[in-house]
């Protein structure tokens, strides 16, 4: 009984700081004290890294064009007086030890949110040196990769009016990194599909579709060949679909999907799929709307969120030449601001980016123009200054 009242008084003290995140712990008086403590722990979300009204976000520069683009993001945020402080964590992809990436993961656990560039994977190294990006996604259980491909009015593409949301399972499937050479010259690679993860991603897809007011979800699979694996995925999607009668659900085989995407991409609305097909389809869609420099991507887990460009390119060949397209990384930054509930700042920067995109002479080389990265960023900052309420000096 004393323990029970001690817990109650503790809850009263810490409740105001956590602003309702504890839920109704204090009201559950029927539970014993030990049960109450464990119940509290289960319902806890990690606290937001918000001190003095300013958020702290982990920043991982990565390789290639990552560092320069993230510098531009920092510049734009500082200029717009966004209340976000970046904690920079460097990851050296050339080293074999995993200390760097473990530090990054700890920093993300601490801050809850991260913005990252792509970390290069040297595939000539030994198989024990795993992809750093993959390690990050699996350790933090960032199970959903969300990408929204929209045709931008200022960009010339072969197909118009594309508006597809792609939700890709991010932790298992072909990317399980489980390989072995049982006999010399014969390598087996395991693709794991689990019921839990498939249900989780399907549920995420349908919830997101409902939230955004979308009418149709398409599952992409290859269940005619991989009957058990993709068959399980499809079955889970169908189960979840039955709980959302207002949303139409259909399925399509992945090779037919790519064929339809290059001829009639307007027929797709929301797509959900396992890991590898997600890789292919998201790259095809990014290409359809104008290239890797335009589309931001987000990786959501239950507790953490990491934002990056959708196609995860390192861009080694264009690094350091001031010709990379900053749009994708800046839009990823805006998605991050939306996640942190700084909606006003997000829409202000996003509008400035879209206004700049309409000016063809400011297009970078990947969308057919001759502008430089710094010109584009300067133009975005000028747009923010003309429309926004408060900025620092240009």
């Amino acid at each position: 009984m004393a323990a029970h009242s001690a817990v109650l008084s503790m809850s009263k003290i810490i409740n105001p700081f956590w602003g309702g995140r504890l839920g109704n712990t204090v009201k559950c008086c029927t539970l014993s004290s030990m049960q109450l403590i464990t119940y509290e722990m289960l319902m806890l979300q990690p606290p937001p890294a918000k001190y003095g009204g300013r958020h702290t976000v982990t920043l991982i520069p990565g390789d290639g064009i990552g560092p320069e683009l993230l510098n531009h993001v920092k510049e734009v945020f500082r200029f717009s007086c966004v209340p976000v402080d970046f904690e920079v964590v460097h990851v050296n992809s050339a080293l074999e030890s995993e200390d760097d990436i473990n530090n990054a993961i700890t920093a993300i656990r601490r801050n809850g949110v991260a913005l990252k560039g792509n970390i290069e994977t040297n595939h000539t190294m030994a198989p024990s040196v795993k992809s750093r990006n993959n390690l990050l996604r699996t350790s933090l259980d960032l199970y959903a990769n969300v990408m929204h491909c929209q045709s931008l009015p200022g960009v010339q593409t072969r197909h118009k009016n594309i508006d597809i949301m792609i939700i890709r399972e991010n932790t298992e499937g072909e990317y399980s990194s489980l390989e072995h050479e049982s006999v010399s010259g014969v390598v087996e690679c395991l693709k794991i599909i689990t019921r839990n993860n498939s249900l989780r991603i399907a549920d995420y897809a349908f919830r997101l579709a409902r939230e955004k007011g979308r009418s149709r979800v398409t599952a992409v699979h290859k269940a005619n060949i991989m009957k058990l694996g993709d068959g399980l995925f499809l079955q889970c999607c169908r189960e979840v679909a039955s709980g959302y009668p207002d949303i139409t659900f259909d399925s399509m085989i992945v090779d037919n999907t790519t064929m339809q995407l290059v001829s009639k991409p307007q027929q797709f609305d929301v797509m959900v799929m396992p890991n590898l097909y997600g890789n292919v389809v998201s790259n095809v869609c990014a290409g359809l709307v104008g290239g890797p420099g335009l589309v931001p991507g987000a990786n959501y887990g239950r507790d953490y969120a990491v934002f990056e460009t959708a196609t995860r390119n390192t861009g080694k060949s264009i690094a350091g030449r001031n010709i990379a397209n900053p749009t994708a990384m800046l839009l990823a930054g805006c998605m991050m601001l939306d996640h942190l509930r700084l909606y006003d700042y997000a829409s202000m920067i996003r509008n400035a980016i879209l206004t700049t995109m309409n000016e063809t002479r400011l297009h970078t080389a990947d969308i057919g123009g001759q502008g430089t990265t710094s010109e584009v960023v300067q133009s975005i900052m000028r747009n923010i200054q003309s429309k926004g309420p408060l900025t620092t000096d240009l």
């Binding site: 994977t121 795993k130 390989e179 087996e188 694996g229 790259n283 095809v284």
Partner: protein, 365 residues
Amino acid sequence: YVSFLWSYTKKCVIIILSLNVMFLYSASQIQTVTLIPGDGIGPEISTAVMEIFDAAKAPIQWEERNVTAIQGPGGKWMIPPDAKESMDRNKIGLKGPLKTPIAAGHPSMNLLLRKTFDLYANVRPCVSIEGYKTPYTDVDLVTIRENTEGEYSGIEHLIVDGVVQSIKLITEQASQRIAEYAFEYARNNQRASVTAVHKANIMRMSDGLFLRKCREAAEKHKDVKFTEMYLDTVCLNMVQDPTQFDVLVMPNLYGDILSDLCAGLIGGLGVTPSGNIGANGVAIFESVHGTAPDIAGKDMANPTALLLSAVMMLRHMGLHGHAKKIETACFDIIRDKKVLTKDLGGNSKCSEFTKAICQRVRDLD
């Protein structure tokens, strides 16, 4: 002595002349090809192709066979023995679309053919057709896909309830075979470069092995340029600028997706040719579209895919003259846009389309 010399030279001349005649005779000798009409629209389009070949006076004799699966001794499903014997004898085959009845108990027909003849390479040349407009112009690439192993090995296990494991198998032998074939193809068809498509950053050992074999084959064929590219980069660049690709070689799953992507670029499966190369010199050329049961028997089918596959077959056999003639006739008719089947945007019948091509072939002579 002079008379002896004269008779000796006469004999030599006769021998040389007869050798020449024999050489000419073998060049225009009729070659037999196994024809598998298939199901649905298969018979109609096969008849169309036979008519066009007849008009082009191609030295091909057709031997029709049926490949409905039968259960052999021991309960194992196999293709009828007369079809197998015909294929083994002729080495070259042309196949229409086959249907796989659901719940018939036997594996897909295409899979059965693949296993029977060890068809290890699927070759799909994708060339933009001038008269058939798609958002992509000037596409000219070839996808070569490993057809026996990889992700389609069919090995799957239910480990515990709710966890399924599919095994992707990559072997040194199969990777070497397909890499060698890709470079041979590039050399024989005057192609400048071969690109290996992989995902070795994630699947380090399996795609790593595939890449190593490709690199080894590249060393032996230094006249062809070799590059490696990640699957996602290929997809991204393919939909933005397909002209940068030449020959692509890849394992099974990536090949499936990419070859259909490229078919979509040029207009779909109704106009895409395809060939399967097997061990022991066997080659089966096929149309990759479905059986289209809804238009079967109505004279509405489009024979272009099977026709272009047959042209590919002629090139494989070395009959380049006839191949060029038939291909030109087909493209001319499509470009003219006067007689087109429904899927190409016209409203003519299959027989009218075929007749137009036959007429053009005769005119080109």
